[in-house]
Amino acid sequence: MHSGRTWHDRHFGYLFVLPATLMLVAVLVFPAFITLKASVTPEGGGGWHFTLTHYVNAFRDPVLAQAFKNTFSFVAWSMAGHFALGLALALALNQALPGQTFFRLIALVPWTIPDVVAGIIFRWVLNPIHGALNPLIQMVIPSFPAEFQWLSSPTLAFPSVIFANIWRGYPLVMVMLLAGLMAIPRHLYEAAAVDGAGKLRQFWHITLPGLSTIILIALALDMVWEFRRFALVVAMTGGGPGTLTEVLSTLVYKTYFQFFTFEYASAMAIMMSVVLFILSLPYIILVGRKQ
């Protein structure tokens, strides 16, 4: 059977996607290729001489190992916090309450604050001399030290950064989950109630299954974003004390722009991308199946 479409008809569509394709090549493929090439180029070298030295060195670098460890921990805790807070608020904001729109807008505010600004705000809030947190805690616990050090403490610096990041990033997960909640048909809950199911059983058997796809997508996207989180960490601690809050993105930046070792930084960036790609596979597969 001949479809009746000419070669011209079949291929004319490519012309329309050409600008977008060229744009993608320019902003995505080309820089990725340049980074990959740099990662196998000898330090300070050029042309087409290749080496795997940077990758070998990367596997022996204790600071990089620490940054990987910190990044995984940062991402895991941030995702858990975003999910717990996002789901709790989404459930609350899905109720028909007076001022619902107002509260929905208020809950979105942290998402509108740039990373650097959020980092600086928290740095000042947690400042042992001028910060607002210590006096607030003292109002509740009078014996609490007036000049308690949050960001200078080896045990509390990292949790403090994670806490700030949870506050800054939960609205995205919340909005996605709220959209998912609003899409679950009301009659399912009505039928369950008629059958005698309590709120907890409704949540477990209707809400969670209804949100499962959205949860997976929200967490996958959150993971990718948190893996690349940079400005908040720089603004709050600069990776310190020592390297206790150093994450991959801050280390790659430092290695490239402060140590001027472009090639080694590129190798780190490629390793980071590979890990990120592997972690994103469930999301990619899911989206592929949906399509």
Binding site: G44, R123, N127, P128, I129, E147, Q149, L151, S152, S153, P154, A157, T237, G238, G239, G240, P241, G242, T243, L244, Y253, K254, Y256, F257, Q258, F259, F260, T261
Partner: protein, 429 residues
């Protein structure tokens, strides 16, 4: 009819092209050469006033050249310049400190100024500059800059606080032990003796180094090939700086979060009595707190560095980008910026000390309350090793100092790990 329309269209096109061509040519002929002058100081008062004055004066005197404001930020000045250089679109003139010169030169981002200097008279022209400072502009036999300021550090202290603590304001501490003693006496009533920098910034070295070098320590062996951090002197200097906070408790809490500006703010609001500061710090105190009577209350003295009299010095310089399309015009702007008149005016506006000998020895500096003390520190000024590996070693040093401050490691362990990290950065097996 159709022919008339065609004639009309062709005629209009010819006239249009002619007008566009003539206007374009005229515009090109009258167009000024634009020189982008990049510095983080465009966003900082009172330095901004000096820059605006220079820009206005130069643009008026040179109708064919226009100096354009190009902003960077202190923390990412290298980032901005590297990214722009990789795109071959860097600012024509950019502002750096001495640590960046070998690294940027090595990558080919800087214009070699040697031919311009030769045209100006070579050695005779260069003789106008502090020769120690000029060493930081040289790399592999080429000259990439002319220093425009020298920034040695000195002890800045609040004489009023000295009096309140029963200390003689005319007898500042002269040894590290005395500094601790004074700082302990000054730490009272919610006020702290000395402000230190502990955050991840270059300012940390500048405050740490006088005590480290003063103890007789060095970062590297004389050939710059290996770490020299495994000596008792290194431990003495390292421990001294860290213990000001951990043991003597004369430094405000949260030292790891303190940068230069935070310490200056604490001085300006009288939460802290002393700091190791730069020459322009008194002007910054006054800008932070206009009610603080800086000239009456604050005084300067040599850093009480220890066995060896030494101070950190920072050199500031402009460079011309290797990718400038107008090197001659850029050089004209550059030369004007480092001229005696502009440098002297800069001192008057924002208190920075020029690397030009004729400005450094001028009566304006010799008779200035703070400048004369800072100028006296310059001969004892020392810089970190100018090697490409320095940024990595410097970062590891900050890490070690922070580990000491936070108690993550003992000073001994932190220094031992720094020694290992330094050798790793140098490629020592």
């Amino acid at each position: 009819m159709a022919r008339n329309i065609r004639r009309w269209i062709i005629g209009t096109l010819i006239i249009g092209f002619t007008v566009v061509f003539l206007v374009g040519t005229a515009a090109a002929a009258g167009e000024k050469v634009k020189i982008r002058f990049q510095t983080w100081h465009w966003g900082e008062k009172p330095v901004l006033f000096a820059l605006e004055e220079f820009q206005k004066e130069f643009n008026t005197a040179n109708p064919g050249i226009e100096v354009l404001r190009d902003e960077s930020r202190y923390a990412d000045k290298e980032t901005v310049f590297i990214a722009q250089s990789q795109a071959k679109a860097a600012a024509d003139i950019a502002h750096f400190q001495h640590r960046a010169i070998p690294l940027l030169a090595e990558r080919g981002y800087l214009l070699d100024l040697t031919p311009f200097i030769e045209k100006e008279g070579g050695q005779k022209f260069l003789a106008q500059w502090d020769q120690n400072a000029m060493e930081t502009c040289k790399y592999k036999g080429k000259i990439y800059c002319l220093n425009d300021y020298v920034n040695p550090l000195a002890l800045l202290y609040n004489t009023q606080h000295f009096k309140e603590a029963g200390l003689d304001p005319n007898k500042p501490p002269t040894t590290p032990a005395e500094l601790v003693d004074y700082a302990k006496k000054l730490t009272r009533n919610g006020r702290y003796g000395i402000g230190l920098i502990g955050s991840r910034q270059e300012g940390l070295f500048m405050r740490f180094n006088p005590f480290f070098w003063g103890a007789g320590a060095e970062y590297l062996t004389p050939d710059n090939k290996r770490s020299a951090l495994d000596t008792p002197e290194a431990l003495e200097g390292f421990r001294y700086y860290v213990e000001l906070f951990t043991k003597h408790k004369v430094v405000p809490p949260g030292v790891i979060e303190q940068g230069a500006q935070e310490v200056r703010t604490q001085i300006a609001h009288e939460k802290v009595s002393m700091e190791i500061g730069v020459i322009q710090a008194p002007l910054i105190y006054a800008a932070i707190n206009p009610n603080f009577k800086v000239n009456e209350v604050m005084a300067a003295a040599a850093v009480p560095s220890g066995k060896k009299r030494v101070s950190t010095v920072e050199y500031g310089m402009r460079v011309i980008s290797a990718y400038t399309k107008n090197p001659e015009e850029a050089w004209k702007v550059y030369k004007s910026w480092v001229s005696k008149d502009v440098q002297l005016r800069n001192f008057k506006i924002y208190g920075v000390m020029s690397a030009r000998l004729d400005v450094k020895s001028s009566p304006e500096i010799a008779n200035h309350k703070f400048a004369k003390i800072f100028a006296a520190q310059a001969p004892y000024g020392k810089i970190e090793p100018l090697i490409p590996e320095w940024p990595k070693i410097g970062d590891a040093t900050i890490t070690a100092v922070q580990e000491g401050f936070s108690g993550t490691k003992t000073p001994e362990q932190a220094l031992k790990d720094l020694h290992t990290a330094t050798n790793r950065a140098l490629g020592v097996k």
